[in-house]
Amino acid sequence: MLTDFVPLFLMMALALGLALSLLKLHQLLGPKRPNLIKTAAYESGMDPIGTARERYSVKFYLVAMIFIVFDVEVVFLYPWAVSFRDFLAADAGLGVMMVVSFFILVLGIGLLYDIKKGGLEFE
């Protein structure tokens, strides 16, 4: 039984070794000749002025997060759209439409909540 697991151990060792070596390799192989410009925060572009800890409005993050969530939910619509034709052919189009409408409704409730709580007001 134990010999069955040999491939697994090999694979684990391989994965660990490869991952570790990739992490270390760039340090070892890459030439390191730092100069003032290279170590600057932005090698090309504006020189950083003032503190890097400048505060952005939290709204900035908020909108970004809301975007991520709603954006990704769309993935569920792809398989639906692809197979909608088959459902239509099988005469189940209304049902599948209702189901996806409910899905949109749930997303809509989220959006409604956002608007009502002022999450999208960008002052």
Binding site: M11, M12, L14, A15, L16, L18, A19, L20, L22, L23, R53, V58, Y61, A64, M65, I66, I68, V69, D71, V72, E73, V75, F76, P79
Partner: protein, 101 residues
């Protein structure tokens, strides 16, 4: 040379381990979050490869859910990190040890 299933599985295993090591070694909370996402995506690769190889669609369905969950997790994670950043002005996870022992 034909790219067999094992190539996909090996690649995703390597990606997964890189993600694990990232979580263990990086100090920036946001990079840790990214490492976790890398782990999830490595698994996604496994799932898609297996699903394709077996001609079964269940694995791909799970991938959709994983993507959605990952997005939600990212949002929550960022929200928490921002809330903490406003208190501590750092995202170094080694600085967060109010509770211990």
């Amino acid at each position: 040379m034909e790219i067999t299933l094992n190539w996909y599985l090996s690649l995703s295993a390597v990606l997964f381990v890189i993600g694990v090591l990232g979580v263990l070694m990086r100090r920036n909370a946001i990079v840790i979050l990214m490492s976790v996402e890398l782990m999830l995506n490595a698994v996604n690769l496994t799932l898609v490869a297996l699903s394709q190889a077996m001609g079964d669609v269940a694995g791909q369905i799970l991938v959709f859910f994983v993507m959605a969950v990952a997005a939600a997790e990212a949002a929550i994670g960022l929200a928490i990190i921002i809330a903490l950043f406003r208190k501590k002005v750092t995202v170094d996870v080694n600085e967060f040890h109010l509770f211990k022992y």
